[in-house]
């Protein structure tokens, strides 16, 4: 027989106390963790239905911890009537396939409040292979579900609003064209019919009137195109930006030759985007650069900078530049900053570019000094999502 010395006994008692304290602390930490995560846990003996519920489990179910005896029956009652069948099926599948399950379901608290929970469970089997214990966790995800529903509602509303706006723009532009035609046509008839009978001044007046009508027609058209950026855009696909640039230069070859502009570029990446719209952006930015070149020859450079999550593309020119106080206004529809320069634009170009970039989830801005040229930047995310829930 071995005897334990008094010292050894004391040591053993101390150790046991420490172990108990550690266990107690561990238990408390788990409680706190469960509470913070709104995560309850439970255990059920399958043959008898005897269950254990953690404190947080009680709380999620709207009960005081320990206030009721946990049973399988009660656990089932707590589930929302419409979700009971699917919940049961999940457990049965899990037993049959010997795989853990994870489902979302609703529970109803004693006060009638409905909560959304994510329930995960795992079955363990006895030596004979019969299902013995069901252990699981139970997470209150009500806030997330409600937030998601709200987001979807907003998204649907936005889609509807966009469609309504496009309808409006279409109807407005269509209805506006007709009276415009009357104005233009009859002024021209006046010109013809009374040729020689009208003096030079009358001809001049008519000319301005007709010119106004022609410009208005172009404006209406541009407005229509602008309003359709989101809803008539192509779905995003792999897009070679160098090809977009080449296409835009091809479209602009006449003014490029005429102005003897020089255009250079860095290697440009392939991204996920609407290639037609990106080509429009290059076309807009480059034709602007040439238009606002000032006295000298236009030198334009298109570059690309790679960042962690996005590509930053820029178009730099050596033209007349823009004063910093006008940077924001440059992107506002119809705002024209240089009214003294003879341009055929309607002032919609940059606003449309910005709208396109926003549709691609990026941003657009300008850096410039008067007389020092301008650099227009835009970013495109490397993983692109369509911001408009349109086509």
């Amino acid at each position: 027989m071995t005897t334990i010395s008094r010292d050894e006994l004391v040591r053993e008692i101390e150790e046991r106390k420490r172990a108990q304290a550690a266990l107690q602390r561990s238990h408390e930490m788990l409680q706190v963790a469960e509470e913070n995560a709104h995560l309850g846990s439970w255990e059920m003996d399958i043959p008898t239905g005897d269950s254990t519920w953690s404190n947080e489990f009680y709380r999620i179910c709207g009960l005081e911890p320990g206030s009721v005896e946990p049973t399988a029956e009660l656990g089932f009652q707590i589930i929302h009537p419409d979700d009971r069948e699917s919940a049961n099926e999940a457990v049965q599948e899990s037993i049959k396939n010997r795989e853990p399950y994870s489902i979302e379901k609703r529970i109803v608290r004693p006060d009638g409040e409905v909560r959304y929970v994510r329930s995960r469970g795992e079955i363990s089997f006895d030596d004979a292979g019969n299902p013995k214990t069901l252990r699981g966790s139970f997470m209150d995800i009500t806030e997330q579900v409600l937030a998601h529903m709200k987001l979807e509602a907003i998204s649907t509303e936005l889609m509807r609003s966009n469609e309504e706006l496009e309808q409006f723009a279409y109807v407005a532009s269509h209805d506006l064209q007709e009276p415009l035609r009357m104005i233009t046509s009859y002024l021209q008839i006046l010109q013809r019919q009374y040729k020689g009978q009208l003096d030079e001044e009358a001809d001049e007046f008519i000319h301005y009137a007709v010119d106004g009508a022609v410009r208005m027609k172009r404006l209406i058209n541009d407005l229509l195109v602008y309003s359709r950026v989101g809803t008539r855009g192509e779905p995003f696909a792999s897009t070679d930006l160098e090809q977009c640039l080449k296409d835009s230069l091809h479209d602009l070859h006449f003014i490029i030759e005429e102005s003897k502009a020089t255009i250079t570029h860095d290697p440009l990446p392939t991204i996920v985007a609407d290639s037609g719209q990106l080509t429009q952006i290059f076309q807009n930015l480059i034709s602007n650069a040439i238009k606002f070149r000032g006295e000298g020859l236009s030198c334009i450079h298109v570059g690309a900078v790679e960042n962690a999550n996005e590509w930053q593309i820029y178009v730099r020119d050596n033209g007349i530049g823009i004063a910093p106080q006008f940077f924001d206004r440059a992107f506002v529809i119809f705002e024209r900053l240089h009214t003294d320069i003879e341009t055929s634009g309607t002032g919609i170009g940059l606003a449309m570019c910005k709208k396109i970039i926003v549709r691609h989830g990026g941003s657009m801005w300008v850096e410039s000094e008067p007389g020092e040229g301008a650099t227009f930047y835009f970013t495109i995310s490397k993983v692109c999502g369509d911001n408009y829930d349109g086509d």
Binding site: Y170, H174, Q177, E178, L180, R181, M182, T184, S185, Y186, Q188, I189, R192, A213, V214, K217
Partner: protein, 144 residues
């Protein structure tokens, strides 16, 4: 060789546009009689020789606007092309709309062609002359 004037039915609700078409047709070498119906209902009464139209000639070509009150151009087009007596008459859709859906719908309903009215009067004259030149000089029309 046609020795009689060409009979044209213009279905158009806008008096300004009717006048424009008249002026454009006046510039033409081909002799023509322009009949005007201000909407779809009147157009069909004219074509079916109802009441006061009992003795009016059947047109050689129909210039048809799309958006009109009472009965719009699409309905008129459908009825014309469904009528054995009328379906042979070429129908030229002449409208302000350049919308894809209007173009498709018109061709679906068997319009012979679709023209968007130009904003410019000089262009409009050209269009009207081209219509006449095409349908009455180049094209063979069915005999009445």
């Amino acid at each position: 060789m046609e020795i009689r004037p060409v009979e044209i039915l213009l279905v158009e609700d806008n008096p300004g546009d009717v006048r424009l078409t008249q002026l454009a047709l006046k510039e033409n070498k081909i002799a023509n009689n322009l009949h005007v119906a201000p909407d779809g209902v009147e157009a069909l009464r004219f074509l079916l020789h109802e009441d006061e139209h009992a003795d009016t000639p059947t047109p050689d070509v129909i210039l048809l606007d799309l958006n009109m009150p009472r009965k719009d151009g699409r309905e008129v087009l459908a009825e014309i092309k469904a009528n054995n007596m009328l379906k042979r008459i070429p129908v030229v859709i002449l409208t302000t709309s350049s919308a894809e859906e209007d173009i498709l719908k018109s061709y679906d309903l068997h319009a012979n062609c679709y023209i968007t009215k130009p904003a410019d009067f000089d262009q409009f004259i050209e269009v009207v002359q081209t219509i006449e030149g095409f349908w009455f000089s180049i094209v063979k029309l069915p005999s009445k």
